[in-house]
């Protein structure tokens, strides 16, 4: 691509938000390997402490763009809980990366015999059923933590509990804690378990205070996780800047899809201004060798966190629909299918992804929807695009609603 052929950036000095999480890697790599610079952007990465702050700062323009949880732009744009603040995403940052970890004491009570499975990881369904047997007999109600009410973490926690016949609203208490407080609260016995992104599961496991039971990947293979989000009005005012931003981050994500680069990335993430954590905590998940338990060997899963691969950057509107419907269900709201279609079309901008991908010469799907739950292995989509497995654990399949108005349409 000839950089001179790109429209000049409307704004070159940008503030971009990120959290202390391993899947911030595409933003950090784009900064440290000077991908932003190559596209004429002078970026300051701002480490944020809460998702609410991230949301508010993007809404009011203190941040130009930020890493966000995939459901956040949908919920924020819907105005169901707050004054609506229209957000859009033209690039997903990562798939997978979370896990559910229980305190060592509780996981011992589940009697999982991890080593006998041969896989060195517990069977998540058996584990949930075991917990289901004892959950109402425990001396006090279990408290489990998620990182934000509207997050994959919440869905994954509820999903796993339901596999054991445990009602997430009645049988346990679910609270919200910031990712970096999970381990401390588990150690002090204030919570009994959590669903969180890396490296916080590994931090608990290495400290010997918790064991992971199931990864996000096992619950739904290659589920959407983080997105690059901007305010809709910011995009309207800065379309060329937004494009350059996506191009830089897509190149960083592509760089991160190689194993040797992931290794090189670990010491960068560990730096004080980024995750500020020892390398040994960051390494396992990022290199696809997550350890469920301090004393069990690591398990090889190169897709534990996915960047770039399997069209990870593509904002599937089928994913958006799933996320939105789950959120509506959780909040007890009903909105018409036509409203859902309008919202996901407005927020998940597949067209913006295609614009950047075609400039980079990356492949991209021509339709906005795919079915979920039917593929146990990676497969070819539209004859030439490799997509990852998409099984939903005991969840059957999910077909997006047939909103005919945008099957394959690319809006401008």
């Amino acid at each position: 691509m000839n950089l001179n052929s790109l429209t000049s950036a409307e704004k070159t000095q940008l503030n971009i938000g990120f959290m202390r999480l391993s899947d911030s890697a595409p933003l950090i790599v784009a900064q440290e390997l000077q991908f932003f610079e190559r596209y004429g952007l002078e970026v300051t990465l701002r480490r944020e402490v809460s998702w609410a702050n991230v949301r508010d700062k993007v809404a009011v323009g203190t941040l130009d763009a930020s890493q966000m949880l995939a459901p956040m732009p949908l919920v924020t744009s819907s105005g169901l809980k707050n004054t609506p603040s229209p957000f859009i995403t033209g690039l997903m940052l990562s798939l997978n990366g979370n896990a559910i970890t229980l305190s060592s004491g509780l996981s011992k009570q589940l009697d999982l015999e991890v080593s006998k499975t041969g896989d060195h990881c517990p069977d998540p369904v058996v584990a949930a059923r075991q917990l289901g047997k004892i959950v109402t007999t425990l001396p006090r109600q279990l408290t489990l933590a998620t990182v934000y009410p509207y997050s994959m973490h919440t869905f994954q926690l509820r999903h796993w509990l339901s596999l054991g016949g445990i009602c997430p609203d009645r049988d346990v208490k679910i609270i919200v804690l910031p990712p970096e407080q999970m381990v401390d609260n588990l150690a002090r016995g204030i919570i009994d378990g959590f669903c969180v992104g890396e490296p916080w599961n590994t931090a608990a496991i290495q400290a010997g205070i918790g064991s992971s039971i199931v990864s996000g990947y096992q619950l739904w293979n290659n589920a959407p996780e983080k997105a690059l989000v901007v305010a809709e009005h910011w995009h309207k005012n800065n379309p060329a800047t937004h494009l350059r931003l996506r191009l830089a981050i897509m190149e960083a994500a592509a760089w991160l899809s190689h194993e040797e680069n992931r290794l090189a990335c670990v010491p960068i993430l560990a730096r004080k201004k980024y995750l500020d954590l020892p390398e040994h905590m960051i390494k396992p998940a990022l290199l696809g060798r997550f350890q469920y338990n301090k004393h069990s060997p690591s398990i090889n899963n190169q897709d534990f966190i996915v960047f770039n691969r399997y069209q990870a950057g593509f904002p599937w509107r089928s994913h958006a629909e799933y996320l939105l419907r789950k959120n509506l269900q959780l909040q007890g709201f009903n909105i018409d299918d036509s409203e859902i279609c309008k919202l996901i079309e407005k927020v998940f901008r597949a067209d913006l992804y295609r614009e950047a991908a075609s400039l980079l010469g990356y492949s991209y799907p021509s339709t906005d929807f795919k079915n979920e739950g039917g593929n146990a292995t990676s497969y070819l989509f539209e004859d030439s695009i490799e997509l990852g497995p998409d099984l939903i654990l005991n969840g059957g399949t999910f077909s997006p609603c047939p909103c005919e108005s945008y099957s394959g349409s690319a809006q401008k």
């Binding site: 402490v49 809460s50 998702w51 609410a52 702050n53 949301r55 508010d56 700062k57 809404a59 009011v60 203190t62 809980k81 707050n82 004054t83 603040s85 998620t146 990182v147 934000y148 009410p149 919440t154 869905f155 509820r158 999903h159 339901s162 596999l163 997430p168 208490k173 679910i174 609270i175 919200v176 804690l177 910031p178 970096e180 407080q181 401390d184 609260n185 204030i190 419907r325 789950k326 269900q329 959780l330 909040q331 709201f333 009903n334 739950g373 939903i392 654990l393 005991n394 969840g395 059957g396 399949t397 999910f398 077909s399």
Partner: protein
């Protein structure tokens, strides 16, 4: 929440700057406010709120516990508590506009002991107003949901029994009276029974 003029308003402070917290505490004590707790780190915030039952929580906007506070009324139906945020942000536009975004976030420029009282008063008043509005909204939403449920049940019944709308309505009303159920409950049963064969349920892993 009872905080009429005879009662003290219970305030909880979450601030990692002990000196600032001490100043604010002094200013609040000078008026009718009752400081029920000062937390320098917000770990254990949820439990402190349950224990100390503050009428209002004051917290630094840069605290990670904003997420915790926001979630209180969302996931577990705790009693919502108004939150006053203070910020070191230089930009007053940020603070003003942020009020429009957060649920119960009332912010001001860097915490100023002299200004604390009016800010808390306003926050409490706005919070009450917002809660009233929200109660009203959610009852309207409920009415709408009920109406949709009734309509859907009627449509299914009309199709299934090949009858007209008034008759479907009458049948459902009779069912409700005979079974001592509300009309909405009857409608839900009708939908549960009749909708099964007509439509494949979407994936629902959480129930």
């Amino acid at each position: 929440m009872d905080h009429s003029s005879n009662n003290e308003v219970r305030v909880m402070l979450v601030d990692d700057h002990p000196q600032r917290a001490a100043m604010v505490e002094q200013a609040l004590k000078a008026s009718e406010f009752h400081i029920v707790g000062i937390l320098t780190s917000a770990s254990g915030l949820l439990f402190q709120i349950q224990e100390l039952k503050p009428h209002v929580v004051m917290i630094d906007i840069e605290s990670p516990d904003r997420d915790v506070l926001e979630s209180l009324s969302l996931i577990n139906q705790h009693n919502p508590t108004p939150v006053v945020m203070f910020s070191n942000e230089e930009d007053p536009v940020f603070i003003r506009q942020a009020i429009n975004v957060g649920v119960s976030a009332y912010m001001m420029e860097d915490i100023n002991p002299e200004k604390v009282k009016p800010v808390i008063d306003v926050a409490l008043a706005q919070f009450e107003m917002f809660q009233a509005l929200r109660r009203q909204l959610s009852s309207t939403q409920q009415e709408l949901d009920d109406k949709n449920t009734l309509d859907k049940a009627k449509r299914l019944l009309m199709k299934h029994q090949r009858i007209a709308e008034p008759e479907a309505h009458k049948n459902m009303r009779n069912l409700a009276m005979n079974n001592n159920q509300t009309l909405v409950d009857v409608a839900k049963n009708v939908i549960a029974i009749l909708a099964q064969d007509s439509k494949k349920a979407p994936v629902d892993e959480s129930k």
